[in-house]
Symmetry: C2
Subunit: 248 residues, 2 copies
């Protein structure tokens, strides 16, 4: 579904001579800093297309779909997952505003996983062939692409270790906290846009375990959790627990 023809009629905002990048698009922002002239920026901008909104539960792409574009989340949350032979869902990641989806598809020219909207999602779509072509003329763009790709290699290693349920949950919460904070949201209070089952499938735990860990963390005064509302009460303790996974 990550097609060129999005549902929104306004792909690019261009206010006369001044045009504005979407504020949540990390990629564009990084390129802005590289100090290109206006004509080059415009070239880059033409490749960007805002698509959506996708409704909760709507798929953005599916495993096996031909790869044509990467996308930055502009608003909402995206979940990527695969279904293993036993029919179990393996959540690979949650993507918040400013984060990029589709990068793992480049090598095989097909998306290796499914991506689904967890709430109302709007994306910045980047045609990858065009992007790559532009990258040959704009070193900053190329560098940024390399950086994005390389980043994701490290991320995947996070959950690879054999950590306890407590460590996994702590790392999950601290990671969300940091990422929200980086986007200007409160680091101590936010909404879990994913279900307990999603969290369990991401952390490789049973849904029951997620429930129990939440309970215990709350009893121990680390967090306060009410349905999907969560508040971090003892960031330091959580961070300490998460240290073995997040490593900094």
């Amino acid at each position: 579904m990550l097609r060129p023809n999005g549902r929104t009629p306004t792909p690019i905002a261009d206010d006369g001579d001044e045009f504005t990048f979407c504020s949540t698009c990390a990629f564009s922002a990084a390129c802005l800093e590289s100090g290109y002239d206006k004509s080059q920026l415009r070239e880059l901008h033409v490749l960007v297309e805002h698509i959506g909104p996708f409704r909760e539960g709507e798929h953005i792409f599916r495993e096996g779909d031909p790869f044509n574009a990467i996308a930055a989340v502009r608003s909402g949350t995206v979940k990527t997952y695969v279904t293993d032979p036993n029919g179990r869902e393996q959540v690979q990641g949650f993507y918040l505003p400013g984060e990029m989806i589709g990068l793992s598809a480049i090598s095989q020219a097909r998306y290796p996983c499914n991506a689904v909207a967890l709430d109302a999602v709007v994306l910045c779509r980047f045609s990858f062939p065009s992007m790559a072509a532009l990258a040959t003329r704009m070193p900053g763009v190329q560098q940024q692409l390399f950086r994005l790709l390389s980043q994701d290699i490290g991320k995947a290693a996070l959950l690879a270790g054999n950590y306890t349920a407590d460590e996994r949950m702590a790392a999950f919460l601290i990671s969300l906290s940091r990422r929200y904070a980086a986007r200007g949201f409160s680091p101590n209070r936010f909404v879990l846009t994913m279900s307990r089952t999603d969290i369990a499938n991401y952390l490789r735990l049973a849904a029951e375990s997620v429930s129990r860990v939440f309970r215990r963390f709350q009893d121990e005064g680390l967090i306060r959790v009410d349905r999907r509302d969560i508040e971090i009460l003892d960031y330091g303790a959580l961070d300490e627990l998460a240290r073995s996974i997040l490593r900094d």
Copy 2:
């Protein structure tokens, strides 16, 4: 240690007008197929430098070292790992001839892990800044870099699932078998260049569990293992076990 000044005096083989790429360097090979003219190939070739041999146990780079180059394994086996706060070694991967190390370092400009030689190791070193610069003029090079980076994102997800010890071990053996086969070695018989402890730290199992699974696999006629010599007797059965992890 991944410095420009390697120990070998012959960085590049250039036989008069004809010069040859190192046969095990997947990167160079892929670029050859792109059909560039000789002067462009030479440009690429100048960036490649053979370094080593590293002795068993010798480090190639360490966590925190400034990133300057990626490298393809030419011969030998490289192990990458980090040490967690509890002092436990987490093996991130084993790299066989033809495989690329250092890709995860690009985003932070520092190596995020240690790389150590498990036996005598020779590398093809690629200066990354030069490589990136060249990529802007040779789209094939850029594409290949993107592909390599993207590939690694998927790889890390392999061990992320909560699989049984048997599945992990089967996937490990099948993966080694395939990779050796792809390089022209026997897929059914090879030497495990890493210790049981290394395997355990990679598969996130206790060393004792690795020992027990080897035992059981042998009793069931799946493999024959004698110290570090291993022979796969029932590839089909192992492959079936590994299916849930390797997914194809």
